[in-house]
């Protein structure tokens, strides 16, 4: 196996890491703020990819597809938050089980609407030009995915760390009752963060479409990856999601290349090590 092979696999790992970051940063934010492990998140990712596919098939461009998926999934997330999760406020387990039930419902509706055949989203030509560097040729689209994930990571970091809204989110994560006491509108924050997290998952689905393609069962494959990322990185931390996503991207990609039958088992090794020595995750503050 040549250096070129390893470089190419590394780029694949980075691209998967970027997708996992889009998926798990939203999951992590929602969990950190609302204590809801949103088990529909994998289904949002898959539904986003399907919506993007339909928008592309209708003749629109790739950027429109990403935006449309983001809006559709954000609205869906908003409705779920408003009409189901809010009714179950303070009943964490019930909320998690509702999101699990919804994950199945969404997946089956996707199967009904888009059939069971795997479908690949076409990458736009202006993004898939091969990039030549250091005497090697890299697929341009994967470089684009990595760039997007880094830009989103920086924007999210700025939003959480440098804006008033972010300060309110951080205050609510640390002590929700005190935050409410000083007049932070926690309910509105919940809705906003839930929509934002859902939109990120939906857009991640479209972005991942040309690499992973979209098929029934994609949701069930992405959800455990997202869980591993947040358990690794620490729940509720953007930086943790970023580091966890790239570690998971590398472990999964190289596991799949070297030991395809056991790529899922290898995936859990870093999680087990982290759980053994730091149960709250690499960047987590304390066990929830």
């Amino acid at each position: 196996m040549s250096i070129g092979f390893w470089l190419l696999q590394s780029l694949n790992a980075l691209a998967l890491g970027g997708l996992l970051f889009l998926l798990s940063s939203g999951f992590s934010l929602i969990f950190g703020l609302m204590r809801v492990a949103n088990l529909s998140h994998g289904a949002y990712f898959m539904l986003g990819a399907y919506v993007g596919l339909s928008v592309l098939q209708a003749g629109f461009g790739f950027i429109e597809a990403i935006l449309a998926a983001g809006v559709v999934i954000a609205v869906l997330g908003g409705l779920i938050e408003r009409f189901l999760l809010r009714r179950l406020a303070n009943r964490t387990l019930a909320q998690v089980l509702v999101t699990l039930g919804l994950a199945f419902a969404i997946a089956d509706i996707c199967l009904m609407l888009w059939s069971g055949d795997p479908m690949q989203l076409p990458a736009p030509r202006w993004l898939s030009q091969p990039i030549r560097a250091f005497g090697f040729v890299f697929p341009g689209y994967r470089v684009f995915v990595v760039e997007v994930s880094i830009v989103v990571a920086i924007l999210l970091w700025l939003l959480i760390e440098r804006t008033k809204l972010g300060a309110m989110v951080r205050a609510s994560v640390d002590d929700i009752q005190m935050a409410r006491g000083v007049g932070i509108p926690a309910q509105k924050l919940f809705s906003f963060i839930f929509c934002l997290g859902a939109a990120l998952a939906g857009m991640g689905g479209v972005l991942g479409g040309p690499i992973l393609s979209v098929y029934p069962g994609l949701d069930g494959e992405m959800l455990p990856l997202a869980l591993v990322v947040v358990i690794l990185g620490g729940i509720g931390s953007i930086g943790g999601a970023f580091v966890g996503a790239y570690i998971t991207g590398f472990v999964y990609t190289f596991g799949q290349t070297l030991l395809p039958a056991f790529s899922y088992v290898i995936l859990f090794l870093p999680m087990i090590v982290v759980l053994a020595f730091r149960p709250s995750g690499l960047f987590g503050k304390s066990a929830p």
């Binding site: 997946a107 039958a261 759980l275 929830p288």
Partner: protein, 324 residues
């Protein structure tokens, strides 16, 4: 007779009636449904140890049923083991697996525990799906022969149902003894007041870990019955949907009650059977039922019925004091 013992008596006679019903209807179709309900009931009872008595919600319980069934299938098909020897090995494998997975999952509590069990469960699905040279991948492993028992050919539905009744009664009595035992009581204590239990000198982590292993063991027993009944195992059987299905049985029936998972298993199996006869949208219905049960009937059917019975039956004065 006190009201409590009257309720027990009513429940017992209903249970016996329900067990006899498929035999009274006579046709193999109904008897086979009976077998499927009992297998699901053993499976759901095993999860109830964690969810109901331990307060630990696991969404990866199908991994134990599936692994046990896969071990039986692989050993009988590819290594010439007899069904019963293979079953013993399968139980050993599942107990070791539960010990390891339990040690990992119990690093977290609450929702973290739930997420780790889900992830670990999907690992086993991944192995069954991807390691196709051994597990047959997406084709699964077909043609596992139903064994004889004491010279009786269990291919006969009625005889197989009889064996399932025996297995179910053993599991049910075992579960009752467990809930009354010191271990079962401290498990319920760690569910309600983990800190106080720790302060009283109970090793909370150890109690939960042992409960995790016992739950894994009984899921393994259900897996053996499962492979004996179907003669076929597919990666779907240890996937997320199956884990969610068994969790729905426990919650719909009533977590933390002896008969709740049994009632839940009957409801889910029959519902699935009826729905699948007309449409192929079982997963959609599973999801919607989940949402509906959690929102409308969070405590489950059995506690609801129990309250109803208590309202109907007049209470003796001393009984009232004893129960309050």
């Amino acid at each position: 007779m006190t009201r409590k013992s009257r309720i027990t008596l009513i429940s017992l006679s209903l249970l016996i009636l329900a067990l006899a019903a498929p035999l009274l209807m006579g046709q193999p179709f109904y008897i086979n449904i009976g077998s499927q309900v009992l297998i699901a009931a053993i499976f759901a009872m095993s999860l109830n140890i964690l969810v109901g008595y331990g307060g630990m919600t696991s969404i990866g319980h199908a991994a134990y049923l599936g692994t046990s069934a896969y071990v039986v299938a692989l050993l009988t098909l590819q290594h010439g083991f007899g069904f019963y020897t293979a079953s013993l090995v399968a139980l050993g494998v599942v107990v070791i697996m539960a010990a390891i997975f339990g040690a990992i999952a119990l690093r977290g509590t609450g929702i973290t525990f739930l997420m780790i069990t889900l992830a670990l469960g999907q690992t086993m699905w991944g192995v069954a799906f991807r390691w196709s040279e051994v597990t047959g991948g997406d084709n699964g492993l077909p043609d596992i022969k139903r064994p004889d028992l004491f010279g009786l050919n269990l291919v006969e539905p009625g005889l197989f149902y009889g064996v399932m009744i025996a297995l179910f009664v053993i599991a049910l009595v075992g579960m009752w003894i467990f809930t009354q035992s010191g271990l079962g009581l401290s498990l319920q204590g760690t569910r309600d007041q983990p800190r106080r239990m720790g302060m009283l000198g109970h090793h909370v982590w150890l109690v939960r870990w042992i409960a995790f292993i016992i739950a894994g063991f009984w899921a393994g027993v259900a897996g053996i019955a499962f492979i004996g009944y179907h003669g076929y195992i597919h990666p779907l059987s240890l996937g997320l949907a199956n884990s969610a299905e068994v969790l729905l049985m426990v919650i719909a029936g009533g977590a933390g009650t002896l008969l709740g998972p049994v009632v839940g298993a009957a409801i889910v199996v029959v519902l699935k059977m009826v729905v699948s006869a007309y449409v192929s949208r079982w997963v959609l219905l599973l999801g919607c039922t989940f949402v509906a049960i959690v929102i409308l009937l969070p405590e489950g059917v059995v506690p609801g019925l129990e309250r109803l019975l208590k309202a109907i039956l007049p209470a003796a004065r001393d009984d009232e004091e004893a129960s309050s």
